[in-house]
Subunit: 377 residues, 4 copies
């Protein structure tokens, strides 16, 4: 099988290149880059020297010859290639936001400020969060050409942390919004040097950005809706999804997203009743029960790990792997579920998940090419 | 004036030493250390060479000769010295939690697992958050010996972010808890090497700790109660304080605490009503209004800076200073107030605030010895 | 094949565990730990959860059942196990310094302050730098039980940077010592928390340590002697090895050793003759020539990469891989060869090289289990 | 007194702004910026909010109204302003390389690729390393308008580490070159975002750059010549300066330069004579003697600290201060002097030294405005 990557020299593209070069099912990898067309990938990324050697072609050449195409391009740019792929009847896995909103072009337009280029392509597309949509991905892939809207980095960590609670109806109806407070490593900002990612401006410091205005908000929110609704389990727990508040932060690390997720368990007056006390035994028991529910929910998932009591999700434990680690906690009063998820933003949050989607689409073992055991340091 | 520091070789003690050595009103500094008694401070901290030179005495000697004593000791250890200071009628500024809970020994006992050593000392003590208690600090100091319970690091950043909203009654009654999600630099863990603070285990990673169980929870909660209650402004806005959820994280940086604070502005069903949209113009206007309210509220405070629209609080902008930077935002829907505060945990979160309290107690200019202009890097 | 690791819970041991768990030839992995005996590796390193699950046994059990044993123990502790392995006629790969000095117990004693426990074992042992000793390792392994003295981290990077220059007689005889100036990541200090590796004491800072007194000095020096002498190529270039000055530094990063190596090319008065000028064209030509010599010298080595002109060795380009990257330069005057080598101290500098040695001993492909493509970030 | 800064918004300019804003002798600070003309400094650096508030003027306005002008501009751009300052008979302190080479325009041209704009200005200029040239700076300033060529960052740390050894004739004549191996924090690269300083490309990694070709080479070399020659002490030790090899590295930290300096003490065959042994007692005694010589040499210098035996120079101990810390060592054989110097590249390596020069020129206390006590973290 020949895989192609359009946009191979950005950070997501280079991570895809690295993962695919180690994938046992691939015979050949075709790469393109607008910025470095005509050069070679190992000159742009000398860390690949001796291992990956490939000319950087025009995207058209890649789409024409590959059996499956990944696009790691800026938004909007990839739709023409998606169209070409559909015409060639080959799968197209898109890492931009272009195919994440299915029919809901209105939401896409409201947040991304532009219309779909080829709206009709959405009948071939599916949101590629395997834990939520594996079945649909398979069905679509079986039916013909498929376009995968590979999830955003924050939405991946946030949604996986929320799914069991929403599907099982843990979040109290009408008890206030779910809050997702996330911190991302600096690779999330991509390869282009900018002041915000200039070492002296971001090292040794933490700060939020785009508060109340980050484009991943509607993606997480839509996922919550599906998880509480159609994917609810059992179906009768289906209930109105909670509303969402999402705040991203930048933390001085290379990789990783940690999401601390607050899910109100019951209607709480929110009124201070006497000074807080440390968690009671009952709180610990309830936490254990919910942790078990999470364990059961994800039992068959190859890339979700529910951490045992006493271990907190941390980004360094998933480094360079496709895992999403989840730890389950309660606040001191036992009325707020606090779920913490950790992913590698470049792997499960981007390139790894794209490979996972390729594996599903092609009928490979789902962890083919994704077998890296995370190193702590 | 002679100041003394008991526990000068821990991180908070050494920071106090550094700040006081540059204080224009001090003639002499007496230091003690249990771990390094008999040695000299410049041997323990060679960064002080040529600038600070002092023998490390017994704590008793310090308390006997100083005109004012700071204690940067583990909890429980300092009460005897506080007693001795009261007997000598000199001010005592305690950086542990021992004197932060006033009469409420029960809450202290519940979280710290021990009783007050000398409960009767609380009639001399006051919680030393100047922005909240400046008047009481002055009154007590005027009346005789005073003990300052210097605030915890997280409670300082969290409370300053919350005060205007609570005092002015912005938080909707019964709309759910306030959430404080904080990230701290590693100096917060103190000078003793531990696995959690071992470079390879905490660098390049973010993770939470003590979720639902951190001892700063009741301190923040009590502050919220006072801010919404007795310190409410105007007094008729006094209303039941919101309940609190507090989650601390460790971030790979030396100094700083960033707190992202979620304050529900109105009763919200919390139910997802259609997909989110980017913030409307009205939302921006409301944010500007609340930002102005914060500006007015802190207009005379020397160490609180309300950041203009478009600037997010970041820990690197307060580095080595006594400032608390606050930025004011709303979520996309305009129903959640998101306040972000940044402090240097070692300065405004510990030693700097202790110096500020000394300045108040002694009638010095409040920013004496605290005039450092923060460097960005 | 069953491999065993004694001392699996230290950093080198855990890295070995991670690499071996992904090795295609291993059927089983037996682990021991003194500190955590009776516990499980995935509890000590939760990053292994779901991937590596093994009880932590007694070392005796491991030596008794394994087909090959790795020891990642403090110096001196492993010799008894080496003896047991020899008796069982299985290979023993030791990551301590115990078997790095062959017959030269005197040098070992001078620097490590103790005698060999079982001196007679040295007839089975060989210094395990494959690029230098591959042939002897194979011969010994063919002849019976073999003990590999796996090289130190600094000596690996330094020696690989020096080998071609010494073997080819580039270093001018009598032109002064070779200087190796190295910077290591903090994992080099091991897993035990210490002040030097406490995040606030070592982050955002660089400093040297053990100047003129580091134990890797005689190991590098002995390697230089062999490289200039018996391994010289062609043999007639054999010449007295240069003397050595070695200075290690600590840099605020997790992994990696960068060694900047100064090799005098000709007898230089060392006397300033007029002010320096930028490198002339001839200097660039000479650098290119030496770079080519390095390329030719290492042409068949699977883990040494000679970087093209214009690319400097950097630790991030070898991260988590077994590569040693080498860049070749000259000073402005063209009289000093400056070779820069970069390795991952935990992989090529410890666990990876141990696996490479296992592969040689067992006749596996030399890069089995070592196929990770380095990620830049 | 009114000071002016041309180029106030670069990193060196902003650090100057911060230091001068705290200087007790200044009444007013005038700032200019080409990139941000018309804006205000506190908008460009919000860390200054509430402390420094100044419009960003045209450089001409600054030069016209100030009593002393600092220029923190790219090379070549400042000469016209220097000329204007000389005409107004006010001191001009230039942080670029334009005035570092005095009459030696040829060397300047060779390395910087351009000629002096106003060569005649060199009769007013002096190289501003106070420890070397304090007397000449004072004389020139007394005689009329003076232009200070403020030293480069690397040359400052390197030269201060070399001065006593060269002035006292410790370096053996003809024993080979002096090697300066330095590591700099990323602020050294300035404020403009570039790939090399993009967080994911430089964090968690060390690498060299411009090997054999860095422009600070001739500046260090010229300083060595002066230190071994005209500034030799006693003058009869005057001897030909050693030649120089200089290698800069980038380390993942914000501030600081660590220079490890190798000075051959005697003519050494450089031939390996038997395997190395740990340093003998005599070596320690010799190191102590040289350390004492350094102490004596710098006894009256306010900003040079010779560290006691057992303490290694480290960049975190001089952070945000004008200190140069120096530790003195020998290699294991006692034939190579290894001096390690640490400075804050933004302070003693740039803005702090400029303030020190202003203090000398104006007859202020030399440490006015430079009294910050370094914090370890």
């Amino acid at each position: 099988m020949i895989a192609g990557i359009i946009g191979a020299t950005g950070y997501a593209g280079s991570e895809l290149t690295r993962l695919l070069a180690g994938h046992p099912k691939l015979e050949k990898l075709l790469l393109s880059s607008v910025s470095f067309e005509g050069d070679r990938i190992e000159n742009v990324y000398p860390n690949f020297l001796g291992r990956i050697s490939a000319a950087l072609l025009k995207p058209e050449e890649v789409v024409r010859e590959a059996d499956l195409v990944f696009a790691a391009l800026p938004g909007g740019v990839g739709e023409d290639f998606a169209k070409a792929a559909v015409e060639r009847k080959i799968p197209f896995i898109d890492l931009s936001a272009d195919f994440r909103f299915d029919d809901d072009e209105e939401t896409f337009r409201a947040w991304y400020g532009k219309a779909y280029v080829h709206p009709e392509l959405r009948k071939f597309s599916v949101y590629g969060l395997p834990e939520l949509n594996r079945k649909r991905i398979r069905e679509l892939a079986a039916a013909g050409p498929v376009i995968i809207g590979n999830p955003g980095c924050y939405p991946t960590g946030a949604s996986l942390g929320l799914f069991p609670a929403l599907a099982k109806g843990l979040a109290a109806s009408g008890a206030g919004p779910v809050i997702v407070d996330s911190a991302s490593g600096i690779t999330g900002g991509g390869r282009e040097p900018q002041r915000s990612y200039h070492f002296p401006e971001c090292s040794d410091s933490v700060s939020p950005y785009k508060v109340g205005a980050h484009r991943h908000t509607p993606e997480i929110s839509r996922n919550m809706e599906m998880m509480a609704g159609e994917a609810a389990s059992p179906p009768e727990t289906k209930f109105p999804a909670p509303s969402l508040v999402f705040t991203p932060h930048l933390a001085p690390m290379n990789r990783g997203i940690l999401s601390t997720i607050y899910i109100p368990l019951k209607k709480d007056s929110g009124i201070h009743e006497g000074r807080p006390r440390p968690p009671a035994a009952g709180t610990e028991a309830l936490a254990a029960e919910i942790r078990q529910l999470y364990l059961d929910f994800y039992r068959d998932e190859p890339f979700v790990r529910i951490l045992p009591a006493g271990i907190y999700a941390a980004t360094n434990r998933v480094r360079q792997s496709n895992y999403c680690d989840i730890s389950v906690h309660l606040d001191h009063s036992g009325s707020m579920l606090i779920v913490v998820s950790a992913i590698d933003n470049m792997v499960k949050g981007a390139a790894g998940q794209a490979v996972q989607n390729m594996n599903i689409v092609m009928g490979f073992e789902e962890n083919s090419g994704l077998a890296a055991i995370p190193a702590l340091f």
